[in-house]
Symmetry: C2
Subunit: 185 residues, 2 copies
Amino acid sequence: MIPGYEPPQLLKQRLFYQGRKLNFEVSTMRLPNQAEGDWECIRHPGGALAVPVTKEGKFVLVRQYRFTVAGRLLEFPAGTVEQQEAPEETIKREIEEEAGYRAHQWRTITKFALAPGYSDEYIYAFLAQDLEQLETPPAHEDDEDIEIVLMSAQELEEAIRAGEPIDAKSICSFFLARPLLELKG
Amino acid sequence: MIPGYEPPQLLKQRLFYQGRKLNFEVSTMRLPNQAEGDWECIRHPGGALAVPVTKEGKFVLVRQYRFTVAGRLLEFPAGTVEQQEAPEETIKREIEEEAGYRAHQWRTITKFALAPGYSDEYIYAFLAQDLEQLETPPAHEDDEDIEIVLMSAQELEEAIRAGEPIDAKSICSFFLARPLLELKG
């Protein structure tokens, strides 16, 4: 900690939007140097993500349309943590719903702040192994049009470096998961 | 692409908030299966990030308070791309303002979507080398209370794995930058 550091003082908080999964609010704050300003924040319950790896060492990803960036992105299966839910529960549900796999072996990778400039979301990342492909792929949620993609570590790293559209939480989780696999065997 | 895939149809767009650096809007859309719903989006001009590395192989990071997560995070220097600005210009300014370094050698790492669930922000990441420490550290912007931290690649990786508070864009950029350094010698 910086000696003498004091966090900003909250003067006012306005809720601009309340959604199904997130809220948007703006806080007016006074800084230690007495300057005042507005800061925006998405209030989000957190996201849970799985890095699913098959016995053959293939990473299971989903390619889905994201209207925010008006295109399709490669991502690991993930979902929003529901009220009263632990991230472990969220991701066990999401990996089945999104990717059509059940995992029998789970390991915590880490958690990290996703976009702290304007969001309080943390991503809870898990390594999912001992995979069982579901016989009946589950019906996808209305807003998800998803293609399943299997890639080796090398293929995925090359795709990331070549600029294949992919998102930050998936890149982080891939690089953090890979050494756990190498150590294992 | 999934054969026959069609993106959702935009029915209505509402701007809830207009800020200095970002807007927040909600889009009502109709999906190919005819279901309708609301989707939230932070409209952001993009972020530029530097991975500054000293001659001795130390990574230069900043530790700063983020009110969104009510704590201090370790991050690489970064800033919001201004209107009419290229990300390369943004980051040359920000690395001086935030970290107090000027870099004489720049290399593009990659770009990636930061939080495509609710934001259109892309991070443009650059490797910054041949660093010159500014004699007079610049005055930080009002809203930034920043500590400069130098770490070796090994120290930084250990910190990330040990759960040191750090954000997604910095983790991604670290892992993507490191092999570029190793290849260089």
